[in-house]
Symmetry: C2
Subunit: 157 residues, 2 copies
């Protein structure tokens, strides 16, 4: 049952921005429900996965990757460090630069979360062909690039 | 400049759920920046547009349309009523049922907001063909339908 059958969408009819927001709200609710009991890790699953795939990355680089300013990332890393799933160490190249790693516990939590994330992803993309999924991913990446190119706006927020 | 050129995406590489979340964070920052000074209206632009396109809709129907449970919508309508942009009246068919309308002020605020929303949408979809935009909209709608079909999860949240 689609919205379209029930409500007039008015100005929203063709707005991609609105659809992204609506889908994100519903997707996040689904994700939250299936990942209860994992502490802070589900909320920061993307960030933790980036840390895992890029061990020892400086905080500034991490922040940029997830559309945050560095000062917003620092308290998040603090929280994750208190939970014992990440740790900060000085960067080898530059001792003043703090870099971030997953702890052994963090790696374990992430491994336990992954099947839940995969199941969530399958619900999101149910009844989509392989081509549809690839197209959706490509188009979302284009939106991401568009927003990064309008960067002054993001930094001003 | 894409993330791909800089960071390993690891498990996130093909996750549509992650891309939607990332894009929504960046899109919302852009939207917030360009709609400062409009009070609560930008935050609830989708909801207000639905009320405009479907005047006199009961609160329950509105809640459902935006993936909320009714009890979460009520305080939002309260806030918007205090700002004088919506009003509740009894439904004609059933006097116990509270229905929602935009006020004259609400209609004016929404009309002033719309060009900003349109400009935001253009930034989101820059360098996309008409076909790409239609495909992205269709695929996001499919995700929306998928999540509505897993409804018990959304209600449980």
């Amino acid at each position: 049952m689609t919205l379209r059958e029930e409500l007039e969408m008015g100005f929203l009819e063709d707005l991609i921005g609105y659809r992204i927001r609506l889908v994100q709200i519903a997707a996040y609710k689904d994700f939250e429900t299936v990942t209860k009991g994992f502490g802070q890790a589900p909320r920061y699953f993307g960030l933790l996965s980036l840390i895992e795939a890029n061990p020892g990355l400086p905080q500034g680089k991490l922040a940029e990757a997830i559309h945050l300013v560095r000062s917003s990332l620092v308290p998040i890393i603090d929280k994750l460090e208190i939970e014992g799933i990440v740790e900060r160490r000085s960067s080898k190249g530059d001792r003043r630069l703090k870099a971030v790693w997953l702890t052994a516990k963090g790696k374990k939590v992430l491994a336990r979360l992954r099947p839940h994330v995969a199941a969530h992803e399958q619900r999101l993309t149910a009844r989509m062909s392989k081509e549809d999924k690839a197209a959706l991913l490509r188009l979302l990446q284009q939106v991401d690039v568009n927003l990064r190119n309008g960067k002054s706006l993001v930094e001003a927020a």
